[in-house]
Amino acid sequence: MAVNPKKHEMPAQKAEVRAHNFEEVALGYSPEIALEEAARCLNCKNSPCVEGCPVNIRIPDFIARMKEGDWEGAYQIISRSSSLPAVCGRVCPQETQCESHCTLLTRAKMDPVGIGRLERFAADWHNDHAEGSAVKPEPNGHRVAVVGAGPSGLTCAGDLAKKGYKVTVYEALHTAGGVLVYGIPEFRLPKRIVAREVDTLKELGVDVETNVIIGKTLTIDELFEAGFEAVFIGTGAGLPNFMNIPGEALKGVYSANEFLTRSNLMKAYREDPVTPIMKGGYVAVVGGGNVAMDAARTALRLGAEKVYIIYRRSMEELPARREEVEHAEEEGIEFHLLCNPTEILGFENPENPRDPRNGFVTGIRCVRMELGEPDASGRRRPVVIPGSEFELHVDTVVMAIGTSPNPLIKNTTEGLEVNRRGGIIVTEEGLTSRANVYAGGDAVTGAATVISAMGAGKVAAKAIDEQLRRQS
């Protein structure tokens, strides 16, 4: 039977409908589509796709199970490598990872197998059908503390728990999940999916302690004093960056972290929220990453009349996933490329200093850019075109231009070395400058992807296991 050259389309809500609700955009394969898509896999002996996966999921093996309709069997294979399959199936950039290595693509110039979509199907099937089925492993008597319940921390915790370690995860916020709950919006990753994955870890025996800020409530040294033999730091990205242009303190200017946290974690998108957020009007999101796309699409769903993405390079350099950009364009987000803000404008009534409109955003002033010579990152450096200033009328501005590492742990942990940008310095195994202290994810690399954080959590879990075995 000839292989279908096309990847099966992901069923999705229509753009004009989904732009006004927070329901998940991608609806997931049906069992019939999953079977047909699984059938496209050639089950290559050398399995190049596995090398493209940061957590090395045995991709051809799980797809082989799916060809037989053994969804649970497929899930079990995935879960051996990934602690968050339903999350990865949704937010991984498969097109630049596993799927970019698929033989169908590299040799036959066909669409690659829809590995991410199949992964999501198997994980969702498991979560819908196999309630409380995680088997608690035999305890090995060793204790490990994980700081931060985001993708890297949860992965590290899951991997260690499966080996029999007693793991406690400390989370600063009131809910576990990290960026998966405060950052990535409901329409891309429903919060119940994250909660279900966290429950699975708890079934494995992982304790999650919320409301504990390591570096404040407890220090890393106190964790060792309390009997933990190793610590993994997965605190994620920290303080949001601003552009340092005039007007950033006006009312209506948010960091993407704040805007998304208000909407996602604090549920400001609801009809009758307890946490406020500016809704409606004209919104400008500055930046071109996935976080910018999330913020723009969230603003739209909150009722914005118009949402602009302002990005200083061209579409070619725009770092967000293609799929997210396409979704955003379909939903009506307007892209102002090769543009850079120079000032945020605000209302000021000279007659009345008590005018309640004073200090609210009214617009954003930008300059147009052109691409010059490549810079250190290899991307062509944007250069200002003289005299190209223009203004856009907006009510809300969201700055999605990255974050800098959080200083709380560095400041309270003697001997923990960080680099010039504040990222924790680690070896290839994730070991920091402190014995038995490991780190991974955005706290090390600066803002990156969920899956690379998971990969780092996985590497560290392996290293912690080896280290503690050596010691005992």
């Binding site: 800020i213 960091s255 959080n406």
Partner: protein
């Protein structure tokens, strides 16, 4: 959950609660704050620590009922519990090298000023406290301040208790009379802290102000609490949750902070009215 061990009404709008939170109680220093949520669906609000009892494992908070969440909080009684209580956050008030301090508190800000005054007393510094309220009915913590101050001056806006006038009046008198404070620490409404700073400026006394901006996470993630400092001719952004809440009064852009504090005024008023109606109906 975090049980409420004791509750005390300090005045018609200000309540004191002692919450069981042993880890926070062990660590919290004067000037630091906590973040709490009343219930499962609640918003996160910052409250400054008003005292701790590490042996008992309790943390004291004092709050004014100003909105929906504090209204809900005020309806809880001892024996009930808070959903979330996280901290201590922010940096502790700097005390090193300060031998003679003037603490200027206004309204519910006095609840935060009190543990700071107590800390200076404990460290052996000479403490002058000036506390101000709108009227006699709103006066709180007078005995506590008297116990930890070498001198206490109580001011009311309407003259119904203590001296008549703003806190800046006795402060100015003292500075003009040649009192040499190593530091003035002021905690209260932004407008009061602004004028305390302006009063102190001609005398060159360092002023520390305690900022209480809108916050969500309190750990340096959202940036909502950012304040602008004028530092050596440059505008510098700092986050009150990790860099503060204490800042140099001469650097803070108070007008901007006041404007930002009113960002959700409409929303907050409506939510507060809704919460009040809810409790009235119940």
């Amino acid at each position: 959950m975090y049980p409420i061990i004791r509750k005390k009404i300090l005045n018609p709008t200000v309540t004191q609660m002692e919450i069981e939170a042993p880890l926070v109680a062990r660590k919290a220093r004067p000037g630091q704050f906590i973040i709490l949520r009343v219930d499962e669906e609640g918003e996160r609000i910052p409250l400054t620590v008003a005292g701790t009892d590490p042996a008992e494992g309790t943390v004291k908070v004092i709050f004014q009922v100003v909105g929906a969440t504090t209204e809900k909080l005020n309806h809880l009684e001892a024996g009930q519990a808070l959903q979330d209580f996280a901290g201590p956050l922010g940096t502790a008030t700097e005390t090193e090298g300060i031998r003679k301090v003037c603490i200027v508190g206004g309204g519910v800000g006095c609840a935060i000023a009190m543990p700071v005054a107590q800390e200076f007393r404990r460290l052996g510094a000479q403490v002058t406290s000036i506390i101000g309220f709108r009227n006699k009915d709103l006066l709180i913590l007078e005995d506590e301040f008297r116990a930890c101050s070498d001198e206490l001056i109580v001011m009311t806006d309407d003259g119904s208790y203590g001296r008549h006038g703003n806190v800046t009046v006795p402060l100015k008198e003292k500075l003009e009379a040649g009192e040499k404070f190593d530091r003035i620490i002021t905690i209260g409404p932004l407008i009061m802290m602004k004028f305390v700073t302006l009063t102190a400026k001609p005398f060159g006394v360092p002023v520390t102000v305690s900022m209480n901006p809108i916050m969500i996470d309190g750990t340096g993630m959202c940036g909502g609490c950012r304040v602008t400092l004028n530092r050596n001719g440059e505008r510098v952004t700092r986050f009150a949750c990790v860099d503060g809440p204490d800042f140099d009064g001469y650097e803070i852009d108070f007008d901007e902070a006041m404007s930002r504090g009113r960002m959700y005024a409409d929303f907050e008023r409506r939510a507060y009215e809704a919460a009040c109606n809810l409790f009235r109906g119940a």
